[in-house]
Subunit: 266 residues, 2 copies
């Protein structure tokens, strides 16, 4: 494949190979339209079982769409040729709960005891919202979606515990109702909102001061609508301070062969 | 059938026959659980075509579930034996836009040019909400649901035009999201809410002063959730001041043979 190519119209497989070869670097937003992208968390086996249970108990912030076998870099259900150690354009390496390095491959760090978790991401339901004509303010403004640590506790599992992180999109009340209908169809990529209209009730004091991402404008006729966010697992993993872990770098997601429409339940 | 009988466990047909015979009088709430109840509007044929178009253009406040042929008192799709002139426990007779009489039968007022419209009612979606454990404050308080004239215009059709009337149920934000999911399944009985959280945006100045029904408590952690209401057609019919019309008396609905679950689309 030679430059320039149409990133939006690539298949999931072609995009993933381009990431692997270095032809695509950085943020994967807008690449391979229609294909599911995922968050990555790689943990040693001694933590992986507990994390899997944590995700099972908290499917809204941690919707797992693929898990590797212990020591395996393949996750065939997300792409036959997929190599989880090379196919993401940016990785973060964590030691003792701190990011020590960002890099384009973790092949040389791979260990026989690692388990990779791929977690659904909001790109899938945002695509469905945009298709229906609903606004995505952070996309219009060209910034990151605002995210907040809430007072909603996740259900703990073993060493994993902590508050749910949510992302926020401002909508008019009628659009919010439509957004509930649309995102309900995608339970494996965060699904319906968890809250709307009253940030104070979930421990958010200043809606213009998100804990992650960037603030966005909320217009006079709009209310904030909150979805469980894939940053939640990263946040609870960091709190456990594992000796070793790998995640994707922000915005650098795994592009899969699965289509967003496959994840719609209705 | 002899008294006392279990009103909640009657079939739709048995309840309708009891209404016809006078064994049941007054409000039909709580009778024949699981069976669809409907609002009634009977109009002369010269208005009926325009009203049908109005309903087609405003399906959320005017979800029609049955229409009689001109001059016919039968609506077989709602009950094989159904007689629309006798089977409702209370009718209102309107002349020149004003209620002139309430009575238990309109058989002797029937005319060859009348058309009967049966319009879905919120009892069906309220049953689904209650089954899911969602609170219905007006039921808890034993009062009528609060209803409001809004600034949301209905789409006009011929002589019929006017604002949408909505009913309001207070819910926590998480319950409101669940209520959107549940009531979305019932598009032919008002369906999903039309608004939530911000009464000011739809022209409601004082939520404690409803235009119809009774005020209900809204708790600190709740938001008002608004559904299109079957009072809308009565309100627009009254505004047209037809020379002659018949409706049900408030709370005295038509009990049909259809089951609420038949109206669920998913």
């Amino acid at each position: 494949m030679t430059f320039p190519f149409d990133r939006a119209r690539m298949s999931g497989e072609a995009a993933r190979l381009a990431c692997r070869s270095g032809a695509i670097t950085g943020c994967t937003a807008g690449i391979a339209d229609g294909y599911v992208q995922g968050n990555l968390a790689i943990l040693p086996a001694d933590l992986a079982d507990e994390f899997l249970l944590f995700a099972q108990r908290n499917p809204k912030p941690c919707p797992i769409i693929g898990v590797s076998a212990k020591g395996e870099r393949r996750i065939p259900e997300l792409g036959l040729d997929l190599d989880i150690a090379t196919d993401i354009p940016g990785y973060r390496v964590w030691r003792d709960g701190v990011v020590v390095e960002e890099r384009a491959s973790v092949a040389d760090l791979w260990r026989d005891d690692l388990v990779a978790f791929v977690i659904g991401c909001s790109y899938s339901f945002e695509a469905a919202m945009a298709e229906d004509g609903l606004p995505l303010r952070h996309v219009e403004m060209g910034v990151r979606v605002p995210m907040y640590r809430t007072s909603i506790p996740c259900a703990p599992a073993g060493r994993f515990a902590g508050p749910m992180v949510v992302s926020m999109r401002p909508l008019t009340p009628a659009q919010a109702i439509r957004a509930v209908q649309i995102t309900t169809r995608f339970p494996s990529v965060h699904g319906a909102p968890v809250h709307l209209g009253r940030p104070d009730l979930i421990g958010i004091r200043d809606i213009q001061a998100p804990d992650y991402g960037d603030p966005v404008e909320i217009r006079d006729d709009e209310i904030p609508v909150f979805w469980a966010c894939g940053v939640t697992p990263q946040s609870v993993i960091a709190a456990v301070r594992p000796a070793f872990a790998i995640t994707h770098a922000p915005g650098c997601m795994l592009i899969t062969d699965r289509r967003n429409s496959e994840f719609a339940v209705l």
